[in-house]
Point group: D2
Chain length 286, copies 4
């Protein structure tokens, strides 16, 4: 019964890079938070402190900045592909790379003026194993609310049930979505694809009469797969941001779905995947 090194990886997390591009007087921005994780033949550094296969995380950071200058940032996904391929292809000791990027969007206010869009954050993940590259785009903290057209009834009742059924409630969530592309070059490019998937998610949330947040989740994933043939799988994590009707009867007031407490926690959390039945297996949980 020996003790052995299991799965491992290392890298530089959260390198913040902003690239400004100038088209004459008109500037544009890419504002990214880049995290790199590398794996390979790293037993020596763990077991003996022999670092001869270790590309320092400081070098990874430098590479992010140098690549931003040398290659530009066509999109978060394209930049992640470039980096992931570089690390594996240039380092004999590295066999797998994962690059995670958060992109912060800015609204244009003028030729060289911008306001940060504080809503949802765009995400991109690339995995590359020296052979295959996989692109998973996403978004987080897209907060949506329907003030009606949501009910919740017909559920299991057990000895611990006190929740009354409702046929009209607020349904609100902070969408966390991740979708996997079929390849590495969706038609129209990654920016346009992201915009379209985001719109599909929003449209499905808005347009679905909801009997449960699960039903809404499935509708959102299905809509993305229907609209976008280049997407093979959608994962959604939807917190149920409860809005609880306040009991105003002690004050001789009714409350016809008018005044709510926006509760923080606990919260319901609905997680699910909607997938094509012929989606290729993922490159790895890793």
């Amino acid at each position: 019964m020996g003790i052995v090194l299991g799965p491992n990886r290392y890298g530089k997390a959260q390198t913040r890079v902003v690239r400004v591009d100038r088209d004459g007087d008109r500037h544009s921005l890419r504002d990214l938070n880049v995290s790199v994780a590398l794996a390979g033949d790293l037993a020596a550094t763990h077991l003996t402190g022999d670092n001869s296969q270790v590309l320092p995380t400081d070098t990874q950071k430098n590479t992010v900045y140098a690549f931003a200058r040398r290659h530009g940032i066509a999109s978060a996904e394209d930049f992640a592909l470039l980096l992931a391929r570089h690390f594996v292809d240039s380092q004999p000791g590295i066999t797998r790379a994962r690059v995670d990027i958060e992109q912060y969007d800015w609204r244009r206010l003028g030729p060289h003026s911008f306001e940060r869009d504080g809503g949802s954050t765009r995400t991109a993940t690339v995995r590359y194993d020296g052979d295959r590259a996989e692109v998973i785009a996403g978004l987080s903290d897209l907060v949506l609310l329907n003030s009606t057209d949501s009910e919740f009834r017909g559920y299991v009742v057990d000895p611990y049930t006190t929740l009354p059924e409702t046929d009209d409630r607020i349904l609100a969530t902070a969408v966390d979505a991740r979708w996997r592309y079929a390849g590495t070059a969706p038609p129209g490019g990654f920016d346009a694809a992201h915009t379209a998937v985001r719109q599909a998610l929003v449209d499905a949330f808005v347009g679905t009469y909801s009997r449960s947040l699960q039903q809404t989740l499935y509708a959102m994933g299905e809509r993305v797969l229907t609209d976008r043939p280049d997407v093979v799988e959608v994962r959604l994590a939807l917190p149920n941001k409860h809005h609880l009707l306040v009991d105003l009867s002690p004050f001789d007031l009714d409350n016809p779905n008018s005044v709510f407490v926006a509760a923080d926690r606990p919260y319901g959390l609905i997680e699910g995947t909607v997938t094509r039945d012929d989606a290729p297996p993922e490159l790895g949980q890793w």
Copy 2:
């Protein structure tokens, strides 16, 4: 040399209330975070535990919900005025009230569907002393960036100075602004006034060629006072969200204001007030 009770106050902080209004099928939302602080003759509870002058913070919370139903929420400021006056005017032991509100805005997606606008948060503060009421509106986390038209030179050089002068840098900040109205009913109402002040702040940031963030701060405050006769004072706290040019020379790359590190801390912090010279004194720091 005795020990005495000094300034004190108490209240319920962060009551989250959402009010839905229905105009037929078309709904609208107010989403607030309400904090109440009351002061008055509260020596007994501090010194002896006699609570006969204490309106429990739980009751304050209930009042927020009941008032949201009974009176609606015309605006954050109007709602704060209503609450502040209620507590002082109805409680003999309470002589001063302060109500602080954060408002979270939602973009309309459909007749009863909304997306939370994750950008800047709107704030409202009302102070009331039984006689005079004072309204201070504000916003926080409005993140703005100019990618040029900013320089910084001609400053003091002392033995600890290493910063090189620059005639072209990124200027970025997260605006925290508070402005005091002359009265309690700005022409057009508080919502329209807020929109106009916000726009004045943004316009001044965008339109000012900046020799220092202080200069930009003054320009922003001045613009508000010029545009809005109903505002008597503007306070601004502007963190200098440094974007540092990366030295790419080790990689044989130039960097003509192209690739930056978005730094977190330390950061410069510029705070200042722009005021009318005949602004009435504030009701109190309290």
Copy 3:
């Protein structure tokens, strides 16, 4: 090419429960944050809104509180086992449960007085599939620092390398550890086991002369497995909380490892698993 429902689960996240036990005048506390996730035959709710197999998350929350009263909280792990088994064993439609608990520790100040220990948070995860139960304990945010006995040299140098080698640096990290027990009843109980594993992690960090954070990671995991036969696997995520030596030469000052910047980001992130070679497979990533 059809669209289908993939892996899914749902539950109540972050139910905050505090249980007070009284042994005469001497009280004790358990302070937990409990998250439940259930899976099973949930296609109907996703596809048609038929909730007849859904145990509402509100009921899950009620169960947490009722069980805290009925059964007490022997330990976070025991409580998680109790809950996980209950949901699967009592609900025909539920086949798998996962319970995640954070425990906040309190230091005793008196018979019924406590100070919250703001350091590391204890975690417990239980997975149960109706047959097998698996217990993974852990801790997060245990911040450790060695001010010497750490070096970093002999690494790969590529065109993007600028980092100088060092034979004396600060090594600091915020330990995030998860360890899997062989069974569901470690000798001495879960509380004692947790204390022992924590101590092993700290001892190994303190006692290891470090040539890389990877080496320290492995030493920490190995120490746990050596000390505790009831643990089969240890996973560690160690951010390298960089402390950068400040260049004081512009001020005619030396800096012999005396004054450092504590940097926030980017940071190195080292993740790895140390395992017994005969560890049974995990019950699931799920």
Copy 4:
């Protein structure tokens, strides 16, 4: 009716500095977060962009690091005094300085090994106007809980009251305290004074049978002033971290102060000052 520049200040916020001292093999740490704010004749930079009186915030940061090396860090308060005096006394255009420091404490694990104490944070504020210096020490996030010996009754009942009286509840708070010293050199030094004041606050919380959190607040402040003649004023902000008894009657369970919800918000917030009646006026809110 002119528009004028009102109160203003600027500085570098959140400079993170760690100083390691070596006494042979035995090391010790100071881990600070330093914020500087300066005021003076700064109209020119605001109005015209003339920076000839501006000491750049970058220089302020450099000064923090250089002083940490040159003078060491005897205590957070001493270091703040040193910095505040330097900026005002060396810069003709600067007439007032404020230095705010957070200190993060570390527990010793070995001669050069430490664990960060994640509990309360120590704070120090120094104001200096070229003549007088004022030292305000403090702490935040000291979370205390009494599981009995707290009641709340006899309060005002109005039409919005629903809270039942209680003669036995949990009382919990996160202490935020600021205390002002009579001078700049308390007997025994700032570290010992801080330890003593912290202990007085804790002892008073633990030892007070509480009829309201206000009463506990006063007892805490009074204890500090009684124990420490070198302290002239204590300000406390005490959130009432509500622990709500769960109604378990739907499950045929009693709940004799056994199982509680630890609520996040809303929360009561009690703020008050306990002062000597001959305390000198504060140097300024500024």
